[in-house]
Symmetry: D2
Subunit: 348 residues, 4 copies
C-alpha cells in the first residue's frame, strides 16, 4: 500500500503517519517529491490500518497495490477452478449450458422444459421457486413445492438443477433439492446470505450486482470462499447504465477481465442481461466467443403466458435448440468443449 501526503503536510504529521505504520510492525519506504511525499508500506496491511491511515491528517490519498480478495484471486491460484458435479465439469475448457424457465409453474411445465433442455444438449435445468419482485403486488413464485417439482424433473431427464436462494433461512432447503444455488443480482452484497452459502455444501453461482464493480463481485465471492466453499461461479448478467432500450447492458468485457483476475468459472446470462428475446441469441454467441465458461438462458414452452414478466426474454424451445446447434460449431473455434454430459446418477 502507498500513502500519499501533500507537500503542505507538516513534518510532524508525516512522522505521525510513519509511527502508526511502524507500530503495526511494517516497514516504511519514504520518497519525497516536489509536490508530494509518498510513503510505501511493506508487509501485510490490515483493512483497519488502511482505513485508519486514509483518515489521518495530511493524507491526500491511499492507493491499494494489492487486492482486497485473496482466495478469489488468480495471483494465489493460477490454475482454473474446475467444479465437477457428478461428471459435469464447469470451468476450464468446458462449456456448460443451463436452461429453463424463469419460474417453476407446475410439474408438467418443468418436466416438459427439462425434456427439451436435455434434448438440445444442455446440462443444467434452471428455474425459480421464489421470485424477487420489485413491486409487492407481483407474482412471488410457487415456493418450496417448486423445488421438488424441479428436482424430480432433473432426476427424470438426467440434468443438474440450479435455483435461486434469496435469504439465509432458505439455504438448507434449497441445498437439499438443487445441485447449484444461485445468488441473484440484488443479493450480491447480502452478506449474511453469502456467509451461510460458505458452508452450504453446494456449488454457488454468484450473479454480479447490477451496479457492482468487478472488484466488488470478487469481494462478494471471497465471502463464500472464506467460509470454506471453493465451488463458486461468477455470473455476468448486465449492469445498469444510462441506456434504457435494453433492460441492462450486458458487459461482456467482464468475462475476460474476471478470468484474468480470478480462477473461478465465469457464466454469462444473456436473458436478464438484455431483457429482450431477440437479443439472447446474438449475445449468447458473443459470450461464448468472449470466452465464457457457460451460459444460463431462459427458455419457456409458452413464454407469452408465463407467470412472471420475464417471458419477454425467454426463448422458444426451437430457438433454444437452434442456438445450441450454432454454439456446438462455435465452441471449438474459441477453445471450448460443447459436449459435457452428466456421468453419474442424478441427485438421489
Amino acid at each position: 500500500m502507498i500513502v500519499i501526503t501533500s507537500n503542505q503536510t507538516p513534518q510532524d504529521q508525516v512522522n505521525d503517519i510513519i509511527a502508526v505504520i511502524e507500530k503495526e510492525g511494517l516497514q516504511v519506504h519514504l520518497s519525497r517529491g516536489a509536490d508530494h511525499t509518498v510513503i510505501g508500506l511493506v508487509g501485510g496491511v490490515t483493512p483497519k490500518l488502511a482505513e485508519h491511515l486514509r483518515q489521518m491528517k495530511g493524507v491526500e490519498n491511499v492507493v491499494k497495490i494489492t487486492k482486497s480478495y485473496k482466495l478469489a484471486s488468480r495471483d494465489f491460484h493460477p490454475e482454473d477452478t474446475i467444479i465437477d458435479i457428478r461428471g459435469v465439469k464447469i470451468g476450464g475448457e468446458n462449456l456448460v449450458i443451463m436452461g429453463g424457465p424463469c419460474a417453476v409453474e407446475s410439474p408438467e411445465q418443468i418436466d416438459e422444459i427439462a425434456r427439451l433442455v436435455k434434448a438440445s444438449g444442455g446440462q443444467v435445468l434452471r428455474g425459480g421457486a421464489f421470485k424477487p419482485r420489485t413491486g409487492p403486488y407481483s407474482f412471488q413464485g410457487v415456493g418450496v413445492e417448486g423445488l421438488t417439482m424441479m428436482a424430480e424433473a432433473g432426476r427424470k431427464h438426467g440434468l443438474l438443477t440450479i435455483t435461486e436462494v434469496m435469504t439465509p433461512e432458505y439455504v438448507d432447503i434449497c441445498a437439499e433439492h438443487a445441485d447449484i444455488l444461485q445468488v441473484g443480482t440484488r443479493n450480491m452484497q447480502n452478506f449474511d446470505l453469502l456467509r451461510k452459502l460458505g458452508t452450504c455444501g453446494r456449488p454457488v453461482l454468484l450473479k454480479r450486482g447490477f451496479s457492482a464493480t468487478y472488484d466488488e463481485l470478487l469481494n462478494a465471492a471471497e465471502y463464500i470462499l472464506a467460509g470454506g466453499n471453493r465451488d463458486v461461479m461468477l455470473c455476468e448478467r448486465g449492469i445498469r447504465t444510462f441506456e434504457t432500450y435494453t433492460r441492462n447492458t450486458l458487459d461482456l468485457s467482464a468475462i475476460p477481465v474476471l478470468q484474468n483476475l480470478s480462477h473461478l468459472p465465469v457464466i454469462s446470462d444473456p436473458s436478464h442481461g438484455t431483457g429482450r428475446r431477440e437479443l439472447v441469441e446474438p449475445m449468447a454467441k458473443a459470450s461464448v466467443a468472449a470466452g465464457a465458461n457457460g451460459l444460463i438462458i431462459e427458455m419457456h414452452t409458452d413464454p407469452d403466458n408465463s407467470m412472471t414478466g420475464d417471458g419477454v426474454q425467454s426463448l422458444f424451445p426451437e430457438q433454444f435448440d437452434k442456438l445450441l446447434r450454432d454454439l456446438e460449431k462455435l465452441a471449438p473455434i474459441v477453445g471450448r468443449k460443447f459436449s459435457n454430459s452428466l456421468e453419474a446418477a442424478p441427485i438421489a
Copy 2:
C-alpha cells in the same frame, strides 16, 4: 395502461390482444394511426396482465400510465405524512436532525456522542451495531450489545435512536431497542426484510439503493406500507455514477421529486452521499435548501480512530455544532422549523 402495436401487426393479433383485455373485464379504447395502433385500457390493470400483454405477439410497447405503487403515492394521499415519535415530528415543515457515529464502539463513545448531538440541537442518535462490509475481512460491528449501549445513551440524553437492520431475523431485537429502524442501500430490495418491517411496529427509514430509480424506491416503500406500517421515511444517500471523486453522487433533485410523487418525509444523508468530510457541510445545507425534511449525519469524537472506514466522512463535534447553528438560520428561509424537541420520556 396503453398497448402500442406496430402497423405491421396483423388484425388477428390485434384481436387477440383485445380479447385478453376484455376477458379481464376491462374496457378497450382503440386508436389507429398511420404507423401504429394504440390500445388504451380502462380499469385496474394487474401486474400479471401487464406483463402478459407486453409479451404478446405484435406488441411493440406497453406504457404504464398509472404508477405501480398506490400507498406511497401522493395521488391518493395528498397531505404530507407526519410521523410523531414521542413528540418528535418528522415530515411537513419540521426539520429533523439525526447524528452519531457510523458504528457504536463502546458505552463511553456512544454516551459522549449522544451528549454532543443533544447539545447541538439534534433529535435522533444514529449508530450501527451490525455493519454491512463489502469485504469479508473488515470490522463487522459489535452486535446486539451495541443496541443496548445506544438505547441507554438515547434514554440518558433525551434522544430518539435509529439503527440499521440488515436481515429479517434481527428486526425484532432491533425494534426492541431502537425507535427507528433503518434499511441500508444494499437492502432496499431485500423483499423479505421489507415485508418483515411492514409489521415491526416501528417507523422505518428506507435508504435508496445506490442504483435505484425513484420508481423503484417508491415501490420498495410500498412493500412496507402494504404490510400495514405507514411510518416510512425515504432517504437519499447518493447514487453510483461514472464520477469516482466522490464515493457516490448525492442526487438532491430526489428531494423535491420524491416529495412531489409521495407524501412520505424525505431525509438526506450527506455523509454517505459524498464520502468526504469536507463536502458534508455544503451538501447538508443544500439538502435543507432543496426542501429535505431531515438530515442524517455522521459525527465522531475521534474520527481518525473510528473502527470503520467511514471516519473519513464523519464530522468533528465542533463542525457538527457549527453546521447546526447555520441550519438554524437557513431553515426558516425555506419553510422548515429547526426546533423540534422530544416531549415525552424516551423509550422505556
Copy 3:
C-alpha cells in the same frame, strides 16, 4: 404520439390541448380512464408541436410512438445498406477489417503497418493525423502531412483508408486524401460537422458518443443522411459506466439492436471500447459473434513507443494476424464473409 393528462386536469385544459392539435390539421382520439385522459394524435407530428404539447398545462406526459429519425430507420428501408468502396463491400454479410495505428507518426511507420494489415487480410488502413486530446499538453498529431503519408501507404499496399475529421474546416482536405471519414466519440453531436459530412462525398463512420443512447446515435446519423450522404456506418466504441477497470464498457448489445432499428452497417471498436490490449482479442471475436459488420482495431509495430497514450490498447502485429486467422474461421459460423478484397485501383 400520445398526450397523457392527469385526472385532475380540468376539462377546459383538455379542450385547449385538443384545439392546439386540431389547429395543426391532425386528428384526435380521446380515451378517458379512471385516473387519466389519453389523447392520441393521428398524422405527422412536428417536433415543435410535440414540444409545445409537452409544456401545456395539464399535460403529465407525452409519449412518442414513432421514431424521430426516418432515413436511418429500418422501417422505411428494410434492406441492409451495403456501401461499396471500389469493390470493398461494407454491410450485409460482409465482414470488413480496419486496422492501423492510433496516430500516423512517420512514412516508414505507416508504410510498414499498412503492409502488415494487408498481409493479415485487412481491407482498410486506419490512422489519425489530428488527435483529440483531453489535456492541452498532450501530443496533438502530425497534421495534414499525416494524411498524405497514409494515402500513400494505402495506395501502395492496396488498402482503403479511414481517418478522423474533427472540425468542419478539415472535412474537404480529409475527403481529398481518405476513403472514409470518421467522426469521433466526442463529436457525435457536433452538428456543424455532421451537416458538412452530409455533402462531403465520402462514406462516414460515425462513432457513438461515449454517453449517447441508441436513439441519439441514430439521430446523429440522420443529420448526415439528411444532407444527402447515404453511406453511413455506425460504430460502437464503448460507453461510460460506473466500472472503471476498463476505459469504457463495450456495449455489444448495440450491434443487434442497431441492426434491428436501422439498415446501416455496424462496426465495433474493441480497442477504444476496452482500452486494454489483452481484452481486444476476446472482444473482437465477441463482436463478430454478435453480428458486427466489421471491426476497427489498433495495431502498432512498436506500441510501447507509440506517440499517443493509446499504445496500451494496440495489438502487436503477430496478435493482429492471429486474431484475423481466428476470425476467418469464426465468421462463416455466424453468417459473415471474411474475405472481402479490394477490386479496383486505390484512390488516385
Copy 4:
C-alpha cells in the same frame, strides 16, 4: 508519479523502466514489497513519458500523484479568481444571476425578458442565437440577428449578456456582441473551439460535459487558460445517470469539489440540470446553499409557446422574481452577496 510493477516482473524489465525514467533526467525512488515493486518519480513528468511508462512490459499500473492541469488548479493559485465585467463581479463572495430565454425569438421577446431580469435583480441576460439540436429536423435558432437583438436588449436594460458559441468560426462574431461566451455541454471537449476561446478576449462560461468527470472539466478549462484567457467560469449543468425521471442529474457536490480543486468561479444551471420547471426553484436554492458563485436560469414570458422544447424547464417571470426574493435572504446566510449591480455603461 508512481509506477507499480508486479512481483513477477523480472529484474531486467525493472531496469528498463528505470533507464527510461533516468534518461529524462528524473530521479527514481525504489520500494520493493512482497508482491510489488514501486518506482517513484521525482520531477516534472511529461504526459508522453507517463504514457510510455504505462505501456512498458512489467508495468501493472501508473498512478498520477499530481494533477494534469496547472493553471486551473488551486494548488498554484490559492485565491479565488474574481472576474470583473464592467463592475459586475463573478467569483469569491459575489452571487451572479443570469436569466433569460433558451432562444432569442424576436426583438420584442428579448426586450421584455431583459426588462424582467433586470427588475428582479439579475445581472446577466442569457439567450441562444444558435441552438444545438439532437435531431436534424428541430428549430435551430435565429442566427446572427439574434446576437444583435440580445445586445440591444442588454444595453437598454443595463445587463451583461451571455450566449452560446458552438463552433470556432462563430467565436469572433459572438465576442463582438456578447459579454460572456458560453461553451455548451456537447462542446466541452471540442478542442478547436476551446483553443479559439483562449484568445477571444471575452470571459467564458464552460459547461461540464454531461458525462465528464471533474478532472476532464478542469482539463478542458486548462485549454482556454493555456491560450491566455484567465476569465473562465465552470458550470455544473447535470450529468447523465441511470435515472431518467429528470433529464439530467444535477450534481451539486460538483460545486464544493470544483471550488476546492480550482480557483475558478462555479455557476449552477438548475434549468438544464433538471429539465423540469417545478425543480428549478428548489435546486437553485440548493445550489446557492452549496456555495455556488452564480446561477444561470431559463425564464420566458410565454414558455408554453417558446420556439424550443426547453420551455418546459423555463420559469414564468413571477416564479423567477419570487426565487430571487428568496435568494436575497438565503445568500447572506451562506456567505454570498446577492446585490451585485452593473456599474459602468454596458457594451458600446
